[in-house]
């Protein structure tokens, strides 16, 4: 089966669902702004995840209905959220104690580039006229136990995001554990990128052609 050339690989929701499968029951999870937020919709039945938002809340619930909610109850993306029964509020130093101290189990982030040594670039393109802004990204990748990247395999212009060495400024060195793209699930190993799983209808060579570093095939245990 060859990929559908007009829409190969997973949709955004399918990508989010694929990540959700890998997050163990009972995990404390921090989700980046954007596509990672969709993961909450696809948690398998019977699992309970606790969502942390670095601005000071553990036990974040879904967004309230449009026009509802409290403008002072927001997530890291500054959108209104709700809380679950059993939530807790805390100040920023305590919130980053959770992050820096290694208490958050999983963080799922977007990426501009991921290198085959686990380097991540996701905060700046380094453009000279850009206003630099980093937020909590560097703290998250330095502190959270498991870092998953969830991203389209290539940029809108078709350039590979999985590369030999990042050319954009780094968010952290050797921090990424696994990358989930529309085309594949890829681990960072001491030997470099290793394909763990190909999306339905996607072949290895198709992914390799769109990756700017060598891919190892799934290991044959």
């Amino acid at each position: 089966m060859s990929p559908d050339p007009t829409h190969p690989g997973l949709s955004r929701d399918e990508m989010a669902r694929r990540v959700a499968i890998d997050i163990p029951d009972g995990s404390y999870v921090n989700l980046g702004i954007g596509m990672p937020e969709r993961i909450t919709q696809f948690v398998p039945a019977g699992r309970e995840l606790i969502y942390h938002t670095e601005n000071g809340l553990l036990g974040m619930g879904p967004a309230p209905a449009e026009g509802e909610g409290d403008p002072e109850l927001i997530n890291a993306g500054k959108r209104r959220v709700t809380v679950i029964p059993g939530a807790a509020y805390f100040h920023h130093a305590d919130s980053f104690t959770m992050i820096r101290g290694g208490h958050i189990d999983v963080c799922v982030l977007g990426a501009l580039q991921v290198a085959c040594n686990g380097d991540l670039a996701n905060w700046s393109t380094g453009a000279p006229d850009a206003i630099p802004a980093v937020g909590g990204a560097m703290d998250l990748v330095a502190g959270v136990k498991t870092i998953y990247v969830l991203t389209q395999h290539c940029t809108k212009h078709g350039d590979p995001k999985l590369v030999e060495r990042c050319t954009y400024p780094l968010t952290g060195k050797a921090v990424v554990d696994r990358v989930y793209t529309d085309l594949a699930v890829i681990d960072i190993t001491p030997q470099g990128f290793r394909v763990v799983e190909l999306s339905p209808g996607i072949e290895f060579d198709y992914v390799q052609e769109r990756t700017a570093a060598p891919l190892l095939p799934p290991s044959q245990d």
Binding site: D70, P71, E72, K78, F90, H92, A93, R100, G172
Partner: protein
């Protein structure tokens, strides 16, 4: 009898001086002490160094303070936000300096400042452009950077309720930087929606003990930045 209440925002900010370092609470609009900031604009102090996670939005609150040319130096983690146009313009024209600090490092630097810790080590920013100029050091085989505690002359924060001692309760995620900023400033000004009799706040539930608070201003119905921005308000 100890009573830290002050008549109004103007009286609370009266002694803020040119060149002061001011920590301003809030993450976006949540927890932004907008009435205190507007009083500071009216008061006129300039050449300020401001510590805040962001740079405000629209032309009210922190963005209005920046727009009025009072801020020489911003220390923050994320100066780009929705409806944030004032800071980018001044930054690109070289009229305001920016010290970009990772959010968790910013929080810890403030907490350290308040706790009498002049420096600490963190792995955050190691191997990135933001490690530049920082001393590095290895502990147990991992690299860390040395970060300095941060203190301020004044903190301007917002809380939900206070008693006359300055014990504070907050509202949800509006808590964010306020409790640590209160510890790190020589003088802490807080605007609260409600002033409660001493003893009404459960001692087990106090978030900021009164020792960290100097002046309390009663603002029963504080404005919301997003409402003002939506209505196109430009302060003053």
């Amino acid at each position: 009898m100890i009573d830290k209440s002050i008549a109004g925002p103007a009286q609370a900010v009266a002694d803020i001086f040119d060149g002061a370092t001011i920590m301003i609470g809030g993450f976006g609009e949540a927890g932004s002490p907008i009435e205190l900031i507007h009083a500071l604009i009216d008061q006129g102090a300039s050449g300020l160094t401001v510590v805040n996670n962001n740079t405000g939005s629209g032309e009210v609150g922190l963005a209005a303070l920046i727009r009025a040319g009072r801020v020489a130096h911003m220390i923050c983690s994320y100066p780009r936000t929705a409806n944030s146009t004032v800071f980018p313009q001044l930054y690109r024209s070289g009229k305001i300096k920016l010290e970009l600090v990772p959010q968790g490092t910013l929080a810890e630097r403030i907490r350290a400042g308040g706790a009498g810790i002049p420096g600490f080590y963190t792995a955050t920013s190691v191997g990135t452009p933001l490690e530049e100029g920082k001393e590095k050091r290895e502990f147990d085989g991992r690299e860390y950077v040395l970060e300095r505690g941060l203190t301020a002359d004044f903190a301007l924060i917002k809380a939900r309720a206070a008693d006359r001692y300055g014990n504070l309760l907050y509202n949800k995620t509006a808590r964010n930087f306020a409790p640590i900023m209160a510890t790190a400033a020589r003088t802490t000004l807080v605007q609260v929606a409600e002033i409660l009799p001493a003893g009404e706040i459960d001692p087990e539930a106090v978030v900021t003990p009164g020792i960290f608070v100097d002046r309390i201003v009663h603002i029963p119905d504080p404005a919301l930045e997003s409402d003002l921005v939506a209505r196109g308000v430009s302060y003053p």
